[in-house]
């Protein structure tokens, strides 16, 4: 029994919206989807006329939909933005090289300039080489830390004013849960923010225009619009912790679809009581990037790789930062601890 669109009441509905429960036809869905992103952009004042905005593009569903929708809205509402695509090549054979092909097609399809920065040029290490040294247990730590900085560095090369990423509502809810589960209060407080304020030199403001957009709708938008995206799992991704949070959230969503926005709402409304110690944001004394320690995570990880001590950036070894900065040798005992890799 076909269901009619609850908005136009003329055409056949193609989906039930998880956030509202409305049944919409294809055209009404496209319109509602785009208008909601527009409302998010306007009410949070994410952009200013004349700005250059770099879209973090991986070739996956979220960033592909983000690029498409931003292009549509920039034209429809005359935001006056200069949009471009910014991609990171982590150097993962058989994964990122394929997904970058998708980004290159998106560049043609959306007529947006594209810049690709690679781990190899920025750090001298590809993820393939890193995995060879560190194994498959902590590799996601390296990749995540390096990617964040790589996007910033690419953005600086292009002189963009803002970076936006395709993080969707499910991602944000997942991150809230993970930060609760890890007791990471500093990140818990930050992670629901729709944009990061300019944190001074070394970091470009970031925002998440799809923060309130359900993954289900992103996937269906891409499907009905026939957008070209890449959907292979990273060959090195054993990010088990996030996987559990994700499965848990998806199970909750299947019982009560509002669970996702509700978790985000909880995260947004949470306030941390006075007297809880928070890390103080400073800058890395080696590269100048934002850091709450003497050395930023990226520099510590890189130092570990270059010295053949891959565990240096895994876990807490802050007290060694002084030694590293002063280029003092580590004791044998310190070295031994940092060399061991548990495969």
């Amino acid at each position: 029994m076909p269901v009619q669109c609850s908005s136009c009441t003329k055409k056949r509905a193609v989906l039930k919206r998880p956030k509202t429960g409305h049944s919409l036809c294809k055209d009404c869905f496209f319109w509602a989807f785009e208008e909601e992103v527009h409302q998010t952009i306007v009410s949070a004042r994410l952009f200013n006329r004349g700005e250059t905005v770099g879209i973090g593009a991986s070739g996956g569903k979220d960033s592909t939909v983000l690029a498409h929708v931003l292009k549509v809205l920039n034209e429809r509402y005359d935001y006056g933005l200069k949009l471009l695509l910014l991609s990171v090549d982590e150097g993962i054979t058989g994964y990122r090289d394929d997904s970058l092909e998708t980004v290159k097609r998106n560049q043609q399809q959306y007529e947006l300039p594209l810049k690709i920065v690679s781990y190899e040029e920025l750090y001298g290490w590809t993820m393939d080489a890193i995995v060879k040294q560190v194994g498959l247990k902590n590799n996601c730590t390296f990749c995540g830390v390096f990617r964040r900085q790589a996007l910033d560095r690419g953005a600086m090369m292009l002189k963009v004013d803002k970076i936006c990423t395709g993080h969707n509502a499910d991602d944000v809810a997942e991150t809230v849960l993970m930060n609760v589960l890890r007791g990471d209060i500093a990140r818990l407080r930050r992670c629901t923010a729709i944009s990061t304020a300019s944190e001074g030199e070394g970091a470009i403001p970031r925002c998440k225009p799809l923060k309130y957009t359900y993954e289900k709708e992103i996937v269906l938008y891409a499907y009905f619009k026939k957008l070209d995206y890449f959907s292979t799992e990273c060959i090195y991704s054993p990010n088990a912790y996030r996987g559990h949070a994700r499965t848990f959230l998806k199970d909750l969503e299947s019982v009560r679809p509002s669970a996702i926005v509700d978790v985000i709402h909880s995260g947004e409304t949470l306030s941390v009581k006075e007297g809880v110690k928070m890390p103080v944001q400073g800058t890395c004394s080696r590269c100048g990037y934002i850091s709450s320690q003497a050395l930023c995570k990226s520099c510590v990880l890189l130092e570990g790789l270059n010295r053949g001590l891959p565990r240096l950036g895994i876990g807490k070894h802050h007290r060694l930062h002084g030694k590293i900065l002063a280029q003092q040798p580590l004791t044998q005992q310190e070295e031994r601890k940092l060399k061991a890799i548990d495969f």
């Binding site: 029994m1 292979t232 799992e233 990273c234």
Partner: protein, 101 residues
């Protein structure tokens, strides 16, 4: 007796990886006394098509949460989900939302 029915099954968004990377499948469900419904189709896919790690596709008698189902290009949540009675030549699409981003 219901006659055998032919279906076009499509797997996407990464779900195809559980089916040897093949996205499009034309299948024929054998005749049986009752009409085929989605619940039975999922059991049939599990028994006849899924080679490894079925838990990544089915959970209980439904699909794993995070896999979207479209019946003739409409969200199956509008079509009765597991209760939907399959028709000959139906087009059923499974899209994983669990991959990449």
């Amino acid at each position: 007796m219901a006659a055998p029915i032919a279906l076009h099954l499509e797997f996407g968004g990464g779900a195809e990886l559980l089916f040897d990377g093949v996205k499009n499948h034309h299948v024929t469900l054998p005749s049986q006394s009752e009409p085929w419904d989605m619940r039975q189709l999922l059991a049939w896919i599990r028994g006849n098509m899924l080679k490894e790690r079925p838990e990544l596709f089915v959970q209980g008698e439904s699909v794993r949460p995070g896999i979207l189902v479209l019946i003739n290009d409409a969200d199956w949540e509008l079509m009765g989900e597991l209760e939907y009675q399959l028709q000959d030549q139906d087009n059923i699409i499974f899209i994983s939302t669990l991959h990449g981003g």
